[in-house]
């Protein structure tokens, strides 16, 4: 897919120049939609899974005749997992490519950086999987099709306190990440309400490779589990270092763990750990099984939740365009706001008055290197 030649190396600059020459102009028989995501960087699988899901939805809609008699085209931009880059590429998608709607991002910090641009320009944006509450508070053009962190944090707090019967839990959060900080706050609050004690609350920064100091401090407090609401790369490294410090308790986390790379990085050290997610591939419902099968045929991998949410976000957006009967951004926004009982692979989606989806969450466990369904928790 991405052919890299070392030759290309010397030529970042020239490549940039060349791309900017081939200006994408939306033609009259096309509906242009912009997508931005982290196709590279420490959360690369987030962007790639989402892109795969969107691609599947796109092909399906175009094979059945497109929308409003026009072909749908999605222009994809890589933000390298950097908030400032997300803002830049979204500005470019709106002003230069003149897209009528936007899909993205996964990480809340990147969506939060880009959303004000979309809001100001009046272009509807649908985030497939940003769970931080602040995302849709940016304005009435910003939507999401996943649950939010106050719910996800509650799910894990309930799971820890009630299903696992834990009383002492430590927290290790990414202090430079909106998602991680928000989720940790909600977890701490709910776990305490449920009668538990937070024995330690430590921080790290995305990109760190050494966590032994934090883990040593945590180890001294003898927690029964460690809640790590970060992204999969750091989680994998944290799991390994915890093991090498002799910490045997399970790790708990959120949907930021969801990646095919999680187990590759963390290996055996992650065995027995739990995290909350948007759906489970083990769900027997025919819609999910069809999606999983199609995805495996096409990409040779099991779709993670982000692929499913990418697929659903695209389908919900297409549905809104169809209902709006027009490719006008404001009309699309109005139709999106009316989304009700949309049956997707990640559950039935209804957007509430705050433009958030209300959906159940599942808890998965790492078992023999695979993600195993444990339970579903409803809102």
């Amino acid at each position: 897919m991405k052919r890299r030649s070392w030759i290309q190396a010397s030529f970042l600059l020239c490549t940039t120049v060349l791309t900017s020459c081939s200006r994408d102009q939306g033609q009259g028989d096309e509906i242009l939609i912009g997508e931005y995501g982290s196709l590279t960087g420490t959360t690369a699988t987030f962007g790639i899974s989402t892109m795969n899901g969107i691609e599947m939805a796109l092909d399906e809609v175009n094979q059945s005749g497109g929308l409003l008699g026009k072909t749908v085209r999605v222009i994809v931009e890589d933000d390298q997992g950097r908030p400032e880059e997300a803002q830049t590429v979204v500005t470019k998608l709106i002003t230069r490519d003149r897209v009528v709607a936007l899909l993205g991002e996964v990480a809340s910090s990147r969506t939060l950086a880009a959303a004000p641009v979309a809001q100001q320009m009046g272009i509807p944006m649908v985030s497939p999987s940003s769970t931080n509450p602040a995302v849709t508070e940016v304005g009435d053009f910003i939507f999401r099709v996943c649950f939010i962190d106050p719910f996800q944090g509650l799910v894990m707090a309930k799971f820890a306190a009630q299903s696992l019967q834990l009383t002492d839990v430590a927290v290790l959060r990414d202090i430079k990440n909106d998602y991680s900080v928000g989720l940790a706050d909600v977890f701490v609050e709910n776990f305490r309400t449920l009668g538990g004690t937070i024995v330690a609350d430590e921080g790290y920064s995305e990109g760190d490779t050494d966590f032994s100091a934090q883990l040593t401090s945590i180890r001294a407090r003898r927690p029964q589990a460690i809640f790590v609401p970060g992204y999969y790369t750091e989680v994998g490294l944290i799991a390994r270092q915890a093991k090498s410090l002799g910490i045997e308790v399970p790790l708990l986390g959120g949907d930021g763990w969801d990646s095919p790379s999680l187990v590759e990085i963390g290996g055996a050290a992650l065995e027995g750990s739990y995290f909350s997610n948007h759906y489970s591939v083990d769900d027997p419902s025919p819609a999910i099984q069809k999606f999983v099968g199609d995805y495996r045929d096409r990409y040779g991998a099991t779709p993670d939740a982000l692929a499913g949410l990418g697929y659903d976000a695209a389908q919900i957006l297409f549905d809104a365009i169809r209902r709006a009967g027009s490719a006008d951004p404001t009309a699309i926004r109005d139709a999106l706001a009316q989304t009700k009982d949309f049956a997707g692979v990640t559950g039935v989606t209804t957007l509430d008055e705050n433009r958030n989806a209300v959906k159940p969450a599942v808890v998965l466990q790492v078992n023999d290197g695979k993600l195993v369904y444990v339970e579903t928790i409803n809102p």
Partner: protein, 353 residues
């Protein structure tokens, strides 16, 4: 107490990572008075070379998880890294020192490769581009267009920064910008001693760092080449008058320093298995601070500087705020420089007479 001792262990293993990078930094500086900014990128390069060696089908077929395979990867990466270091020296730094034929042909060749790729995107087009670039370079040199050799330390410093960016961006293109995960090529065992968890891998890293430090000290202080290196470092012209081929000694210095960077790349990746093309920047900066802290040019000082920075960082995170992790190295630097400007083990340089 147990926690404190464990933090001490953590700090030493983090510190040995910085020390490994700092060794090469300080040696190259000691000989050439050049802050080799590309050093941290050679470190990155070494890690990736190790990654590719360990994932090659030949390696997978013949080696397993053993100390031997660790040695094979380590030596392989060191050799490749030193080759890169010598290449950098030959085509980027040396032209700043003396007129070096072939320099223009080299860089025009790279430029041509890029144009070839943009125009054709086939190996043939790239090869044609390289060829055209080399021809242009050779013709320009025949006309007398040569890099002007006026050695100014500012110029060389800027070249070093440029080389560093070039390697980072090339790395992103060639290796891919997303992180890769270094395979576990040496067996890991967690030893429990009196409540302390000692990771055998981290002990190995510390051990190898110490061995390399001793080896480096021996080379620099007790061999003929080392004597020549010190002569070159003190006075280039006088060294030439001794019959020393200074270009060769400088290339050797770069090769040795880069081999150390490569070794650092492998050893650090064994401890912290996430590798990406920008992985060298921050550790490189901190290793540089470690080298200055220890007294730049002083090999033993670099080792201690690295350990101090590692310990300080871990203590800052363990007993303070992880927010200050990256700042602590620089705070220490400022303090030390205020108290002892030459660094902990640095001697006031004897003025050249």
């Amino acid at each position: 107490m147990e926690t404190f001792l464990q933090q001490l262990v953590n700090g030493i293993s983090q510190g040995s990572a910085y020390a490994l990078i700092a060794l090469g930094y300080t040696m190259v500086y000691g000989v050439l008075k050049l802050i080799n900014f590309a050093h941290s990128d050679v470190y990155m390069f070494g890690a990736f070379m190790g990654f590719y060696i360990a994932n090659s089908s030949w390696f997978q077929a013949t080696m397993g998880t053993s100390v031997l395979s660790g040695v094979v990867v380590l030596l392989g990466a060191m050799v490749l890294a030193s080759m890169l270091g010598i290449l950098i020296e030959r085509f980027a730094y040396r032209p700043g020192r003396s007129p070096s034929p072939g320099t223009l042909a080299f860089w025009f060749g790279i430029l041509g490769a890029g144009f070839g790729y943009l125009l054709g995107k086939t190996p043939g087009a790239v090869a044609a581009g390289v060829l055209a670039g080399i021809v242009v370079g050779v013709i320009l040199e025949k006309w007398g267009v040569r890099p002007r050799a006026q050695s100014s330390s500012l110029k060389i410093l800027i070249i070093a920064i440029g080389v560093s960016f070039f390697l980072e961006n090339s790395g992103q293109q060639v290796f891919g910008a997303d992180p890769k995960f270094f395979p576990q090529i040496i067996p890991t065992k967690v030893l429990n001693v009196a409540g302390l968890s000692l990771d055998s891998q981290k002990l190995t890293v510390l051990g190898v760092a110490i061995v390399l430090m001793v080896l480096l000290n021996v080379i620099v202080n007790y061999t003929k080449t080392g004597r020549a290196m010190r002569a070159v470092s003190f006075n280039l012209d006088a060294a030439r008058l001794m019959g020393i081929n200074t270009d060769r000694i400088i290339a050797f210095t770069f090769g040795l320093g880069s081999a150390l960077a490569g070794a650092g790349g492998i050893l650090v990746s064994l401890m912290y298995p996430k590798i990406d093309p920008l992985m060298g920047i921050l550790p490189g900066l901190k290793a540089f601070v470690a080298a200055v802290l220890g007294g730049i040019g002083n090999i033993t000082g670099a080792m201690f500087g690295g350990l101090i920075i590692g310990l300080a960082e871990v203590m800052a995170v363990g007993y303070g705020q992880s927010t200050y992790r990256d700042a602590i190295a620089f705070v220490i630097l400022v303090l030390i420089l205020l108290i002892k400007p030459t660094g902990i083990m640095g001697k006031g340089m004897v003025e050249k007479v």
